[in-house]
């Protein structure tokens, strides 16, 4: 359960997040989408504490995350591009992560993805020698390893081969079934169509809409999420053009 209240963030003159207030309950798979530069990544980073908002508060499991780090034990994060110390072996990375999260981790680790991606066969390989796809697999496996109640996946399927991509999606669905909150950013609408229960649409740093996928499809009369989004995006584009015209 994540709740954001009136989050504002500027990088210099550029305001990246404007009054973002959302509540993300457990048991949902929320697709965070929006055009490039709409503030998706910044939003995710504020949830992880990597970016500190100028104003507003974020609550994770009911507690404010300001000046805290222990709440991140409840979050599994899969970055867009995983870059790791090149001379470290995969096994060592897993050992280190286990070491770091030992206190908050469940007794048995969730090694579904380790098994599914056959990572054990490569455990002794240094991370620097891995392909981009394999690194993605490592990132994914790490995100799920400690069975956290919240998962934040940044472009999870980018760079994965179709088979691995399917395996990951299956895993996401399984965890959804376990009542977890999962945030996904992706540009692959078909993936989101399969996975997402809700859509959080950001544009120019503010929430354009936040509704369930079913409502969205009903409202637009489209069967596919991609089309539904595109329809809305074009509408807003027209609207903003009109707004500009009025201003002039």
């Amino acid at each position: 359960m994540i709740r954001a209240e009136n989050i504002n963030k500027s990088f210099g003159k550029l305001q990246v997040l404007r009054n973002v207030s959302v509540s993300l309950p457990q048991g949902r798979v929320v697709a965070v989408i929006g055009p490039n530069g709409s503030g998706k990544t910044t939003f995710i980073k504020t949830l992880l504490g990597m970016v500190v908002p100028d104003s507003g508060t974020i609550y994770v499991e009911g507690r404010s995350i300001a000046n805290r780090h222990d709440y991140r034990a409840h979050i599994g994060y899969m970055p867009q591009i995983g870059r790791y110390p090149t001379h470290l072996k995969i096994k060592q990375l897993f050992d280190m992560m286990t070491d770091l999260r030992k206190e908050n981790a469940p007794k048995s680790l969730d090694e579904d993805l380790v098994v599914a991606f056959r990572l054990r066969d490569m455990f002794e390989k240094p991370l620097g020698t891995l392909s981009g796809g394999t690194k993605q697999k490592v990132s994914a496996a790490l995100a799920f390893l400690f069975s956290p109640p919240i998962l934040i996946l940044d472009e999870p399927t980018a760079g994965l081969d179709p088979l691995s991509s399917e395996l990951l999606k299956e895993k996401i669905q399984r965890e959804h079934g376990n009542g977890k909150l999962i945030l996904i950013t992706s540009h692959v609408m078909s993936d989101l169509d399969e996975l997402a229960t809700d859509v959080l649409y950001l544009q120019d740093g503010s929430v354009q809409f936040y509704s369930s996928v079913d409502d969205l499809k009903l409202g637009t009369g489209e069967q596919k999420l991609g089309r539904a989004i595109a329809q809305i995006m074009s509408k807003t584009a027209v609207l903003s053009k009109r707004a500009e015209a009025i201003k002039i």
Binding site: F11, K45, L48, H69, P79, R83, D99
Partner: protein
């Protein structure tokens, strides 16, 4: 904290660059000591290396390493770890590996050929200089977001402390030679870590010349171990303050 340090250290130690640096230092040290039967000359040549090469390598390597570890730091910051411990783990990892390289490359040959008080002071000052420039590198790296800019800043810092600063001091001395500059000189020295390291070695190597100062301030400073302890302490301040400031900045930094 030391959990992360362990892996950072492991990663860097296997890095070819640090290996190369160690071997280079060892080769240089052995050739300096082996080339001349007088260990005093070897020590002097080594001092030049310590004052120029060691700071340069320390600051450049640390800056590059920090930028290269940026994603890893991001990954760590998504874990239940405080920013401070992540940053200090990185610092300790880098500082420890470069110190190890220095101790193996310079420390061992020096102890073999000149395991005297002078040799030990040379090693200690070189070690603290390494730590200090790693510290400065981390500061430069958190100040700038851009890798190229960070590298530039690091180079400028090195250039300033290793080359420009003493020239400026000499200029000041020439311009104000009619004034009593004793205390000013001691103060100016304290503002440059390479100067502090140099003075520490001088106090062991050229004490006879330094004692030629007629000024009471210098006499007091150099004649006892008091001066050495002060120089050592100020040099330690040069290790601590940049990384302390960098930690504060990193704590609030948006990754």
């Amino acid at each position: 904290m030391n959990k992360v340090t362990k892996y950072v250290l492991y990663d860097i130690v296997r890095n070819r660059f640090v290996m190369g640096y160690t071997l280079l230092l060892a080769a240089v040290s052995f050739s300096f000591f082996g080339f001349d039967p007088d260990p005093n000359k070897g020590l002097l040549s080594l001092l030049n290396i310590i004052l120029m090469v060691v700071p340069l390598v320390s600051i450049i390597f640390s800056t590059i390493h920090f930028y290269n570890s940026y994603e890893f730091i991001e990954l760590l910051s998504a874990q239940p770890l405080s920013r401070k411990s992540i940053f200090l783990s990185e610092y300790i990892g880098v500082a420890a590996s470069l110190s190890l390289a220095f101790l193996v490359g310079v420390g061992i040959p020096t102890m073999l050929f000149e395991g005297t008080e002078r040799g030990i002071v040379l090693i200690i000052s070189g070690l603290l200089l390494t730590l200090s420039f790693v510290s400065l590198a981390f500061l430069a790296a958190v100040i700038t977001r851009d890798k190229a800019k960070g590298m530039g800043l690091s180079l400028v810092i090195w250039f300033y402390f290793a080359l420009v600063y003493d020239g400026l001091v000499l200029g000041i001395l020439f311009s104000f030679s009619d004034y009593p500059l004793e205390k000013v000189m001691l103060f100016l020295t304290a503002l440059n870590p390479t100067d502090l390291a140099r003075i520490m070695v001088l106090m062991k190597m050229d004490i006879s010349a330094l004692m030629g100062f007629t000024g009471a301030v210098f006499q007091d400073f150099f004649s006892t171990n008091y001066g050495l302890i002060i120089a050592l302490s100020v040099l330690m301040v040069w290790v601590v303050w940049p990384v302390a400031l960098a930690t504060r900045i990193f704590n609030k930094k948006d990754l």
